[in-house]
């Protein structure tokens, strides 16, 4: 048997082959297809155009539709797109449609997928969103695709993929309390550049990775696309398996795999996390890395905590640790990724105060679960940068115009660094507050 990496093993299984090699083009069976309100209507259009107006999706239990991008807006076309999803889900009888303004509403798809039990080790998950790679944290192959690919999958359950070579990133040592997964991935992107993993898989390993909770592992995999990565992946351990078993409502069995000893990696880098400093990505690229001490004191207009990258309960716990008993000096927007995270803000307490109470007492503004201002969106989007402001954010991208205004400047950072900076109004080091 050829020794294979985890990504190669998952793809071989999905292609019903004994082995695959990097660079090969293979046809895989898809386990879950996810789409949302921005790419769903176009995908449905392609599907109907090619398979017929009355065609049925290949497997209704494998198509998951999660509106999350433009939800709390007066924009008529954005709302029309959600109507399109609703109608399609009804006519197809899809059991996994998480409708807006209904008890089933979730919010950000990449966080909703694991919460609702749609992520399982060993599977292939494709989604019409580049941050679909987040689900690699569950030991599966997950990547973003376009509407045409998704329309094809909708009708056939299959897609051609090119097997990527795997880059391996090992984090050794004990994680200091001021370093989060966001710092780790920003450090990697700073090292390899925003094209450093183009057409490649990024596998994370090492004791510091397995010391992370599942949400932090998701943050790590979430931003591989910012290095051009095709997928990010972490071999499952007991933490992964326990999480998946707890959420896997369908009871669908899954296969836990890991890279073979002797598998070939295209690149390998070992980090000692105990030596890392909090990191930011300066405008206007996620690879424009600086350690916080280099940019400390940079004046800010706004702070933003939210998105698939930085809007999970772990992110808000971290921010609340710093914000408790303090006030923010700049406009600070808090957006839980999902309705489950929003409930967590109301129930989880820190020294007798809920996280939500802590944020509101600090003067932050609380939004409803969705992608919100991470990608700008309609002009009435909560937290959107409608002017040329300078913002520090827990989100994933800071290309020109990403959060709204073309001349706005966005610094990407961990929830700890964003919270510290919100308190002072200038870029600040979380070590000064811990």
């Amino acid at each position: 048997m050829t020794a294979m990496t985890l990504t190669e093993k998952i793809l071989a299984r999905a292609a019903k082959r004994d082995s695959v090699r990097p660079g090969e083009n293979i046809w895989v069976d898809v386990d879950v297809l996810m789409t949302h309100d921005v790419c769903g209507p176009g995908t449905i259009g392609i599907f109907k155009q090619h398979f017929g107006q009355n065609a049925k999706v290949w497997d209704k239990d494998k198509v998951v539709i999660i509106p999350d991008h433009y939800i709390f807006t007066a924009d008529a076309m954005a709302n029309r797109n959600v109507d399109t999803l609703r109608q399609f889900a009804a006519e197809q009888g899809l059991p996994y449609y998480y409708d807006v303004h209904s008890p089933a509403y979730k919010g950000v798809c990449h966080i909703a997928l694991p919460e609702e039990g749609h992520t399982r080790p060993g599977e292939v998950l494709l989604g019409t969103d580049s941050h679909t790679c987040t689900a690699g944290a569950f030991g599966e192959f997950a990547t973003g695709i376009g509407n045409t690919d998704a329309g094809f999958v909708m009708g056939t359950g299959k897609l051609w993929l090119k097997v990527p070579p795997t880059m391996r990133f090992v984090f050794e040592g004990e994680l200091p309390p001021y370093i989060m997964a966001k710092d780790l991935i920003l450090a990697i992107i700073g090292d390899i550049g925003c094209d450093g993993a183009t057409y490649r898989a990024m596998e994370f390993d090492g004791e510091a990775v397995y010391a992370l909770n599942i949400e932090e592992r998701m943050t790590l995999c979430n931003m591989v696309i910012e290095a051009g990565g095709k997928n990010g992946v972490i071999a499952p351990d007991q933490i992964t398996i326990d999480f998946v078993n707890q959420r896997n409502k369908s009871g669908k069995p899954f296969q836990v795999m890991k890279s073979d000893a002797g598998a070939t990696f295209a690149y390998e880098k070992v980090y000692n996390v105990s030596k890392l400093e909090p990191v930011v990505a300066k405008p206007h690229s996620p690879d424009n890395r600086a350690v916080v001490s280099e940019v400390k004191g940079t004046r800010l207009d706004r702070a933003y905590i939210g998105s698939c990258t930085g809007g999970k309960l772990t992110d808000f716990r971290a921010a609340a640790r710093l914000l408790k008993g303090r006030s923010v000096k700049i406009d600070t927007f808090v957006v839980p990724a999902t309705s489950e995270v929003a409930r967590g803000l109301q129930t989880e307490k820190l020294n007798g105060q809920t996280l939500e109470e802590i944020f509101l007492a600090a003067g932050a503004k609380l939004g409803q679960p969705s992608c919100a201002a991470c990608l700008g969106g309609p002009s009435d989007t909560f937290g959107r940068l409608n002017q040329a402001l300078r913002c520090i954010s827990t989100t994933n991208r800071n290309f020109p115009g990403r959060m709204g205004h073309k001349e706005a400047e966005v610094f990407l950072a961990s929830p700890l660094t964003v919270a510290a900076s919100a308190i002072t109004g200038v870029i600040s080091d979380p070590r000064d507050f811990l």
Partner: protein, 207 residues
Amino acid sequence: MFAAVLGLAYPRHSKPETMQTIIKGKAYVLGDNIDTDQIIPAEYLMLNPAVPEEYRQFGKYALAGVPSAQGGLPKGHIPFHNEEDEFISPYTIIVAGKNFGCGSSREHAPIALNAAGIQAVVAEFYARIFFRNAVNGGYLFPFETPDRLCEQICTGDELEIDVSKSLLINRTTKDEWGLRPLGEVAPILEAGGLFAYARKVGMLPAS
């Protein structure tokens, strides 16, 4: 060889039945890491490309997110559209640097370029999803070049691409460069995109 090269995923600006072995037109030059938010800002993503009139609208907003100074190199500050036509650009070929189309998976990005009349992009290399979308949806030719042409070609230069020879000619300066052959995606492009390819190889019933 490249008859009916472009697929038929959506209604498009250029007529797909036209056999395009030669692509001719003016160059619009951009730099490195032109991400999908610059190609089509998120505020326009509520348009649904499956609706023909909305598909056309994407042409108007193509490259709306490129900061003015970086639009139309080497000088910059050159608008992608002229006053006569707010939907179709006078430019036909985009020349760019590294990592073109990085960022989101939005197929609206190659759609916007196609709707604006762009028939080919020549870049050093592409972000993976943009490249897939361009090929599988058949919106434009995503050519790769071993040369850093974004520093050698000027916005407005008259270019000609001979698709079957993978050759780029600058009619304005008389320069010529070899492009990387389309390689493994050629069969999909040749068939006319992902759906046509799947029909050709028998994965889908012939329409």
